[in-house]
Amino acid sequence: MIKSFLNFLLPDDEYKRIRIVYFIAEAAVILAVVLLLYTLFTSWLDLQSRNGFVIAVFSFFFIMMYTFIRYIFSGMEHTNVVSREQFVKKRIRILGNALGVGLVFFVLNLIFEGIPSNREEAMDIIGPTIFFIVFYLLFDYISLKRSYKKNKELLDD
């Protein structure tokens, strides 16, 4: 294995490892081009848009989200789901995971926001929690579906 501080973030399987390194590298190259264009346009047009905080947050989330979405759609997360039964079992587990993580999200929201005293405050906690669960479930389900499809194609004939 190549020595790198990235290793602790990467899985043991070499195919997965290589694909993830590629996703991170793609994100970095796209971001570099976007930042270069941004720099050129702001200097040529003499724009005063130099909000460092926004650029830093955008850069961070772009790399994270690009890598995450590419990983989800690559179908390599659930490598052992090859039969319909395994797929159904995993789907139920994914639902359980989403609800569990959603509950943690809800509790953390309660801790940071405090116990709601009216309906509006309650919605400020419940709304994001539902949003979080739906997205968590959606991404996990897409990943499972893509993995299942890919695994079936690679199954023993």
């Binding site: 043991d12 399987d13 070499e14 195919y15 997965k16 390599m76 490598t79 052992n80 090859v82 993995s147 890919k150 695994n151 194609e153 690679l154 199954l155 023993d156």
Partner: protein
């Protein structure tokens, strides 16, 4: 290359998942190698060859 690997694995009486766990890979990776959709590292080739008691030529040399 892909058929040779698959034949050797079946001769050895191993499933993709069993071979994968013995060589430290996932079942998907073994499937990809067998289908010719992924070129494994030399280290993984050696691990597979050792596990199947074949040489690298037996498994991966294309004539």
């Amino acid at each position: 290359m892909r058929n040779k690997l698959k034949i050797a694995r079946v001769e050895k009486g191993l499933t993709q998942a069993q071979l994968a766990s013995r060589v430290g890979a996932t079942r998907q990776t073994i499937g990809l190698i067998e289908k010719g959709k992924y070129n494994p590292s030399l280290q993984l080739c050696i691990n597979i060859a050792k596990e199947l008691e074949k040489t690298l030529d037996d498994l991966f040399w294309e004539e």
